[in-house]
Symmetry: C2
Subunit: 583 residues, 2 copies
């Protein structure tokens, strides 16, 4: 494939061609149509960028995928390890290698605008850039771009009309003195316009663009994605629906100041702008991360149902392992089938991670039907999964003890538990960010010289992306300006221990930030735990828990029992009582 | 006094006159000569700014001093509470009130340059500013400015010659493309030039300025402060000594770019510059906070001696309270007398805080001979004190249980202990700042809805200021760019609980940052506790401590006993054994 591409590049006088893992909207997960990087490189991971030169090819990916990429990449592609000594970044590589008379090309619709502008700023001469799709001519049987029917998301689930969301955004635009606001990110669009769809697996968004002015708003969708119900409802909200690609024409006519998040828009669209750009995060990022009362109420319900499914799974797993044939994949499928029985379930919120034994040491391991480890009645099974329900999105990880574990495994399980509980049970003064609190969950591991080398938690959307910002728990802010934790923010709390070649342990609850007492010191905040599934008591070394930690664990388990037991069979209930017992 | 000043202002056609609490070097503590704000306002606190208008007078001070200032201020001065709703800041007040034709005046040598520049940027018209000393004409018997003999600080204590320190500073100047570097802050000067003196009580610095060029360096000192020994040693280091006030003339001749920390230089000096200013922190701030091996070795020794003095004090206090007459002042004096018996002791490192019962709820309470509470054999005595030794500076707080205390007092004492130990015993990956770790010591209090409303700890100088930056533990960075904790940084760890009208508890250890293990996760860091005095076991509710906390406490007490007991009498030793027993 690479050779054919190089041949075509030669014909077109192109010296460098980039194939990123992006769709036209810079989504984290992309549809089949956009999997060109996988098609050309053979590498199946979720993140990576392929660079093809006339004689060589390189693939950049991050630490999660070094082992997998090395296995999967075809021989003519060199693996470039991101954030690793001895490997330049793609930006560095390009800025150091492209000569003044050479041409860099890519499909401008899947190329991140910020990346190109950064590259231009690093090179002292004007770059020859060409937006050209060399993918389609070479990719036989390229799947069509998804064009599923969108649907209106019911107000009983989201609680706030589009016109009110638009008002808030326009207020922000006013403050920033912007006449228009261009949006390409699909979760922002889905949230603002209260629409959902099926264009990306596990993420119920609709391929669309949006343009908001002070007195009008346009939503650009594929013709077959909407119908009269949608257009008439949106009209009531002051929104006009237009054709998907019309946005490229409309932005050319913009003048004055336009608010655009250049890191969330493609290069072709951004370079169509002929006006002043105010490059800031989309205001909807800050609005949608604060869930309103209706969203919170619904999310709590979604978590109860999700808790029932995962608790039933845990019961089945722990009672049947070693007795019936189980492997990583069929257990994951069984879990999905239990979720599917729950009211208002749509689909998983991401591809389930079901990792047995040493496989779980790879943080983002995904078994395949061909390579699924069988489960035995010993060691740990790590299951990270979630559901998209009409009433909310869930994300939960439990590590299950399948039988005998060593003392050191028990110790490590308990350290992870302590970390998770320390964050979950903190009461803190308003104004703290997720960066300030991160050390609470990390300290038990750090004190043993262990680290989990990733953030502790991320925001979760509401019937949207399972990863959403800007709220997060991590030791260093990615943006340099972390946000204070606010009432209504939902963030995961998922510390872990990953020992290569041995095992992996992760425990994950979702935490809703809420007001606690207010006194002379100020407004205290605390977390309500939304996730309702037992933490496997078989993994816990009780002697390692402090009085306060035991209290927190027992309180949690008591709530889990009270909340989940009404939905269980008699046998499951008796079992749950044992697995939520006071210790 | 205010009336006389207003009369003089009228004569000179001055509408606003500011009297800050600063010396010519913006020091935290100032000599008697510079206590004009105290003289004119009656308020004796360590921080505050007096503003006199033709008809009114206002004093700004911070939360530590609201109660005291209200008591002490003369009737014609209005108290302006800093960071309190309803009170503008001094900057706001001035920028909102000064009219275009009015004149603002102050003694330019004691006025912070940054403050004046900020004020100028807030006002839309050019300000009429006059540097004039109205203090001296009105202050009868104003004490003379201190001019104590400086001394060369021996290399066996500081470990690094001036010429090497100058090299490091010049490297930094090169990076910043600066031709010269002007320094007015006394601790930076004392550190760079390895001189010390007695011009400020408790802070062994010398009144001086410095000017560093790439190929020369000048130290400006009062004529009677130095002698031939000093000039000849400094000459060897490439430094020329000049007269104290010559700096004002010399800076006028500077050209090119000059590195000056405008927040640490007075307005008269800053406004004498006729060249480009690079306004950044003095590089010596970042250099001196990392103690070298010689300084660390010496500081450990100083802490052992200090620990012996405070442990002997604790023995005496706990064995004699209720039997002999004690009050806040005479106990503090007794403690100083015990320190004075230690080798290489010079003076206290700050005025001892000895606060009994409800007095300790005021974080910076200072008893006076006239108002010293007598001690009874019940409740808490909080003693925050430290020493300047030739081999280092110490700062320690212990809260002692003098007899009966309530369960809730015991609980609060234990919470403070847990907070202190949580920070002291953390192992963390290199790169973390004191902001990232602050929550560790605060969490036990926060979880009970209590906060101590100040930082958790500050850097400590080496035979220098007891408060030094930039390392610190606090929930929010003051500068916006906190520094990573590095090997050799010494920071206090001093959480507390302060209940107005009831009692105050603070425990303070000094922590030396050091390397811990290095493994696949990176370089771990941890703290070595330098402070060597028992934590009063009579205040501890053992049931509240986790296994790890008990372990940390027992380990600490074991080290205290091993380190301190050789220097005690037989009786003291037996007592110490009991008070460092394993729990």
């Amino acid at each position: 494939m690479i050779k054919k591409l190089q041949q075509l590049m030669k014909e077109k006088n192109i010296h460098y061609y980039i194939i990123p893992t992006d769709d036209d909207h810079q989504s984290e997960n992309v549809g089949e149509y956009f999997q060109a990087r996988k098609y050309f490189s053979g590498f199946t991971g979720s993140a990576g960028t392929l660079l093809v030169t006339l004689n060589n090819a390189f693939l950049w990916t991050d630490g999660r995928y070094f082992i997998q990429a090395a296995k999967e990449l075809s021989d003519d592609i060199k693996l470039m390890k991101m954030n690793t000594e001895g490997y330049p970044s793609l930006l560095e590589f390009l800025s150091q290698n492209i000569k003044e008379d050479e041409t860099l090309a890519f499909d401008g619709k899947v190329m991140n605008a910020s990346f190109v502008y950064q590259l231009e700023s690093l090179v002292s001469y004007p770059l020859h850039i060409e937006c050209i799709d060399l993918i389609t001519p070479l990719w036989k049987d390229r799947p069509a771009m998804s064009c599923e029917k969108a649907f209106l998301y019911d107000k009983k689930y989201h609680g706030m009309e589009t016109k009110d969301k638009l008002s808030q955004i326009r207020e922000y635009m006013n403050e920033e003195k912007c006449d228009a606001h261009l949006i390409a990110s699909l979760d922002d669009i889905a949230w603002i316009f209260n629409i959902r769809g099926y264009d990306i697996k596990c993420t119920p968004v609709v391929l669309a663009y949006a343009l908001i002015h002070q007195d009008s708003a346009y939503l650009y969708m594929q013709d077959n994605a909407y119908d009269e119900t949608i257009t008439s409802e949106l009209k009531k909200q002051g929104v006009t629906v237009k054709g998907y690609y019309d946005v490229y024409k409309d932005v050319k006519a913009l003048n004055g100041q336009v608010l655009v998040d250049l890191s969330n828009v493609n290069y072709e669209l951004a370079s169509s702008l002929n006006c002043d750009v105010v490059d800031e995060n989309n205001p909807s990022q800050y609005l949608k991360c604060i869930k309103n009362e209706v969203e919170v109420k619904n999310t709590i319900q979604a978590h109860i149902k999700d808790g029932v499914a995962v608790t039933k799974f845990m019961y089945w797993l722990k009672n049947n392992v070693g007795k019936i044939e189980m492997n990583e994949i069929n257990t994951a499928e069984y879990l999905t089938s239990l979720r599917a029985k729950q009211d208002l379930f749509i689909e998983p919120s991401f591809s389930t991670i079901s990792a047995y034994g040493k496989n779980a040491a790879l943080m983002h391991y995904h078994a395949t039907k061909e390579h699924a480890s069988p489960l035995e009645n010993k060691g740990f099974l790590l299951v990270d999964s979630g559901g998209q329900y009409y009433d909310g999105t869930t994300d939960i990880t439990r590590t299950f003890v399948l039988g005998e574990i060593s003392d050191i495994q028990k110790k490590h399980f308990t350290l992870v538990l302590k970390g998770m509980l320390n964050l979950q049970r903190i009461k803190f003064l308003h104004g703290q960010t997720g960066i300030d609190l991160d050390v609470l969950s990390r300290a038990p591991m750090w004190n043993e010289g262990i680290d989990y080398q990733c953030g502790t938690g991320h925001g979760v959307g509401h019937l949207l992306c399972v990863h959403e910002g800007p709220n997060e728990f991590r030791p260093k802010s990615r943006t340099g300006c972390p946000v204070a934790l606010q009432v209504g923010m939902i963030t995961t709390d998922e510390p872990g221990i990953y020992l290569e070649g041995q095992y992996g342990i992760r425990l994950e609850n979702e935490l809703l930030c809420q007001k606690d007492i207010k006194n002379e010191y100020g407004q205290y905040m605390s977390f309500k735990c939304l996730t309702m599934v037992p933490l496997d008591l078989d993994g816990i070394d009780e002697t390692m828990l402090s009085y306060d930690e035991k209290l927190a664990l027992n309180d949690y388990h008591k709530t889990v029992y009270q909340t989940i037991s009404p939905y269980l069979t008699k046998k499951e209930k008796a079992w749950l009582q044992k697995y939520t017992r006071e210790i």
